[in-house]
Amino acid sequence: MSKERKLFLIVAAVLIVGSFLITTQMENRFYYKAAYVVLQYVVLATAWNILGGYTGYVNFGTAAFFAMGAYTAVALIKTWKPPLYVLLVMGGLVSGLLGLGIGYLTLRLKGVFFSIATLALAVVLQMIISNWSYVGGGAGTAILKPRSVPMFSNYDEFLFFVMAALAVVSVAVAWLIEKSWVGRGMAAIRDNEEAAECMGVPILKLKLFATTVSGALMGIAGAPFSYFVVYIEPTSAFHLDYAVNSLAMPMIGGTTTWLGPLVGAVLVGTAQQIATVTLSSEMNLLIVGSLLVGFVVFAPDGLVGLFGKIRARLAGREA
């Protein structure tokens, strides 16, 4: 294990333990709920970026993977109410399989056609869920969250901790991919798929890997959703917001590194949380829209790229 990798993993572990310690100290539940949403976007943006940023396939169907995770959990809760980790695993599994299926689509669909297919997939799945009355169908269903959980004073804090851990894990996954030959292979696909194939990059395997991991992470992020929101119905679980945000955040942060989606999700997610309780929500939407357009037009490499440029310029001046 390289020194860098060791350090990264230590930082990850420290962050997980840290977020647990926070729950023993802080009472105010609002921060937990707000943080939960932001961390959920860290997972989604990171997951999106593994496929979109690294491999170059734009997924408009984040909501489909997220909602499949959420609805897998709902179906399980309705049958035998398993503990949360089972929900996470199963949510990840179902969405991961969905991702694998989408991966095979990349055999035939390149570029924008793939994107449209993911969008269509989201609509079709929403239709199916709307017609599946066991999980509430279009009418939705209320989910009772467990009264208490060991080691935590209430369930909100527990959910916050779980999502914090998931965020750390997903960033770590993205980091590991990026630093390995897998990441370099993906970058080759992004730059020129045919050339990569000629050079002997196992493009199908890598694409399947990317879609599966990306889908699974989104599903895991969706699994606790029904406990968080208590009431689940298809229009909110499949909301276009998830697609827009999970795409806008890496774009704003920067798509080529693990840091970009993290920075983007924390900044944009937090800005949205603040805007929800301060500004009108028209402004909220306006902020996301303008940031998104502004960044793709003026700072194509996102914040991370922007900082890099500024630093390079400063370094140049010093020298």
């Binding site: 924008v112 969008l119 028209e282 306006l286 303008s290 793709v296």
Partner: protein, 290 residues
């Protein structure tokens, strides 16, 4: 229940709706199909057109179709401006595939927000003498509310078809689509051609918007419901083929209508999207693809 009359009525209803879908998709077929500009924001421009139409209908009693045609002119210049930005920021640098897509996605959102701030989130409707009336030929009923958009949609597709095949400029657009370099060698600036084509695409979107609000009420975020449909039509028909767009629109309309009539409306959307998915997987170049 399965009478000939019923079948015929379902077919007519589907064809009428399909003509309108073709009108919605014609502009996209031009920009996306011919010029590879993936204008995801196309439905937002349609809704923008609906609101312009609503405004002049509500305040000055303009006929919706007339309003659509009048607004098509300034919208052309709006389209020109949008394409200029797109070209300078993305196409020129070869960044259109990822960031260009996201640019239009963001534009989609911005248009929605601007509509929300200006008009509020309420459903808006228009009035015209033909809305609410219907006629029948034999046992087949035809509502003018649907027939007028069908007619205008058909004319729009026909005009675009003639424009693309018979005029110099239209042929230049087709030329750019096929071989941009060759056109350039012939002394035509492909960027100028693309700008014009994109402008026309936005102009038709605004006309389609005036048709949409004739058919039913519109609210600012309803455009999302049509992203899938317009792309389904464009892809199904074959990119850049006006005949294909018309046929694709009709197929989608009829498929939705038949599903609603025979299996129940709750599956209508899924079936049309199913067609899109199958089409993408089996024949991405569409029915009339180049």
């Amino acid at each position: 229940m399965l009478s000939i009359e019923f079948l015929l009525n379902a077919l007519i209803a589907g064809l009428l709706l399909g003509g309108f879908y073709a009108a919605m998709s014609a502009g996209l077929s031009l920009s996306f199909g011919l010029l590879d500009v993936v204008n995801i924001a196309h439905p937002a421009f349609i809704i923008f057109g609906s609101y312009l139409t609503f405004y002049v209908n509500e305040h000055f009693g303009f006929d919706p179709i007339l309003a659509g045609l009048v607004f098509a002119v300034p919208s052309y210049f709006l389209g020109v401006a949008v394409y200029r930005i797109y070209y300078n920021c993305f196409e020129k640098t070869g960044a259109e595939s990822l960031r260009g897509l996201v640019f239009f996605f963001g534009l989609f959102f911005l248009i929605e927000v601007i509509l929300i701030i200006t008009f509020g989130v309420d459903y808006r409707l228009v009035r015209a003498f033909y809305i609410g009336k219907s006629t029948s030929i034999g046992s087949v009923g035809i509502a003018y509310r649907l027939f007028v958009p069908f007619l205008v949609g058909g004319i729009l597709a026909a005009v675009l078809y003639l424009f693309l095949t018979k005029t110099f400029f239209g042929r230049a657009i087709m030329g750019v689509a096929q071989d941009s370099l060759a056109v350039q060698l012939m002394g035509v600036d492909p960027i100028r051609i693309k700008t014009v084509a994109f402008g026309i695409g936005i102009a038709t979107a605004v006309i389609a918007g005036s048709l949409l609000i004739i058919i039913g009420p519109v609210e600012p975020t309803i455009g999302r419901e049509y992203i899938g449909r317009v792309f389904a039509v464009t892809v199904l028909g074959g990119l850049g083929s006006m005949t294909g767009t018309l046929v694709g629109g009709l197929i989608l309309g009829v498929a939705e209508s038949f599903t609603s009539s025979f299996f129940g409306p709750s599956w209508a959307l899924a079936v049309s999207f199913g067609i899109l998915l199958i089409c993408l997987a089996v024949r991405p170049s569409g029915l009339f693809g180049r």
